[in-house]
Amino acid sequence: MGSLSKTVSKAQKLYLLALVVVFIVTALVKNNIETDRTRYDMLPENLSPSDQILGGMVGAFREITADYLWVTMDSFFHSGDWQRLVPTITLVARLDPKFIQVWSVGAWHFGYNISVPATDIKVKEQMIRQGDEFLAKGIEYNPDIYDLHFELGWNRFDRQLDYQRALPEFEAAYAIKDHPHYVRHMIAHTLERLGRIEESKKLWKECIAEGDCAPAFGNYSRLVKGEYRTGVPQYKLRNRGQEWEKCLADKIPVSEPEISAYYNAHKDTYMDQEKISARHILVSSRDAAVKVLDRLKKGEDFVALAGKLSIDKGTHETGGSLGLFPRGQMVPEFDQAAFALKEGQVSGIVKTKFGYHVIKLEKRIPARLKSLKEVRTQVRDALVEGKIQANVKSKLAAGYRWGVPEIKGLEKK
């Protein structure tokens, strides 16, 4: 017994010794590898603790989980399920912060797809702000990728109309290697909006010199001619106005005297034009037209004759009826002749590019002013639109940018 336990313990000692040696070498190698992983940026170090837990939970399946959610995110987008889209976007970004598409597509969903159709102005602003913050976060994780800087610049330029804050992002994108040529174009555009015309001109000149854009492109020559577009352009103001209208239309008060005053001032827009209802017989020659007139004089029925003789395929089955139409809808010769007729009267021969017509006027409805009752909603809409346009302009002039006021408070310049 004594010798057996001795041999066993000897073997055990050997095993233990081998284990300790191998283990120490493994630990050393591991330390070396961990240094490498930090150096090659393979460790998700700048994740928040909650993201670390999330990543730890899915372990080796982090990327596939992110991809699975990315696919579902696409279906939420297509079904317009915003309530589920928003958390999914953030989750994918947290699982795989180096997935550039998620940051840019996500920000685009926030800034445009969700915020544009939103009718609650608070939601709208919050989504725009979220798009801005989301991209900034993406840049934190991927500082060396031009895409996200450019996206953020574009978001501020186009969506927030904040050229001041767009410029540094475009410049940051430009400073990163492998940026596409349009990054510099955007810098030039932004400088122009900011009124820094000389700098913008200089940039366009550089672009042309380096073959980045054709001289015929026109941006440079436009600036040379002094045709600047500084500040927010008119069409943008209009777009913004229309967007706000959807949020504010029900909330803007419009009084009864305002409505009647607007109606009285814009009566010409609420006129119903003069309309006539007529029939015609179209034939291919003057002789045929003369024959038609003869038969009409003999008392033959216009409707029956149109059915028999008219070569106008569209109307000969309905007895030549053209229905009701206002001035300007028919060719001028026809218009003139038809509107000159009295009710029940038949015209002479009228020549147009289609052939020879004989026209009979059935009924005339004279021009009239639509009553206020009929056009009340139209008048109200026009009033609201005008008020919103004025509102947009004054707010923009006062430095208001979409979703930005809160962010401005955070920034200390």
Binding site: V29, G55, A60, R62, D67
Partner: protein
């Protein structure tokens, strides 16, 4: 030499197992299904193919290694073949190593087959072979070697079911190692810090073998890093096998 002979028999037996064939077929279907995924992927087709393919290779590799590893030694004992082996002058450690190597060879064949299908898909989609993806497959193989060694080790002292559960548990722990280290490092308690640090050495960090993120984002992976990771995998497997040898040595058969 004796270990080599044992390895060859083990390998031949392993690749004849029906469950392996079934797993392989499922793996092919899974990897191939990445092509269907691309339909929904919103312009990220190749990412999907690579991600689904590499993850499929890992999942099925894990299943194959776990089931192979857990049954290596218990099956021998059950079938009483072990007596004929042990009656010969073969050391018990040699038995463990021989059987392990045989199973490792079987895993290699499986990984190669799945890898071929995967690389074929990438070539079909991209018309180039992605070298980083190839490195990812190689590292997955060495990751599986560690998993295999874990399963073998557990099977020397635990039942089959418990071995599978333990292997899966430690795999999950090992692939969350990074997060655990990070969170441990933020702890205020020095004791917890040391404990977590030590834990990091005791449990294999499977994230070292995970370069799927680099494959997906087109980042380069230095060759030296891959080499170091391979050495780490081999060393950890060796350490596990020594533990397995130790337990097996003590085992009454």
């Amino acid at each position: 030499m004796k270990a080599a002979a044992l390895a060859m028999t083990t390998f031949k037996e392993a690749i004849r197992k029906k469950v392996l064939l079934v797993l392989l077929v499922f793996a092919f279907i899974f990897i191939g299904s990445s092509l269907l995924f691309t339909y929904f992927s919103g312009g990220e087709e190749i990412r999907m193919v690579k991600d689904v393919g590499l993850t499929g290779l890992l999942i099925f590799g894990l299943l194959i290694s776990t089931f192979l590893g857990m049954s290596l030694i218990p099956a021998e004992i059950e079938k009483r073949i072990i007596y004929t082996i042990l009656s010969k002058p073969v050391r018990r450690l040699e038995v463990v190593v021989g059987k392990y190597l045989g199973a490792a060879l079987a895993v290699l064949v499986m990984v190669l087959l799945m890898g071929l299908v995967f690389m074929g898909l990438i070539f079909f989609k991209e018309h180039t072979l992605s070298p980083v993806a190839m490195l990812a497959i190689i590292l997955t193989f060495f990751e599986l070697l560690v998993v295999l060694a874990m399963a073998v080790t557990f099977s020397t002292f635990a039942s089959s079911t418990l071995s599978v559960v333990l292997t899966i548990f430690f795999y999950i722990m090992g692939s969350s190692s990074d997060s655990l280290q990070y969170l441990g490092g933020r702890s205020d308690s020095p004791l917890l810090k040391v404990a977590v640090k030590g834990f990091g050495y005791l449990i294999p960090n499977f994230e070292i073998f995970n370069i799927r993120s680099q494959v997906l984002h087109g980042d380069a992976v230095p060759g030296l890093y891959v080499l170091k990771a391979i050495i780490y995998g081999l060393l950890f497997s060796a350490a596990l096998l020594i533990v397995a040898g130790m337990f097996f040595h003590e085992k009454e058969v």
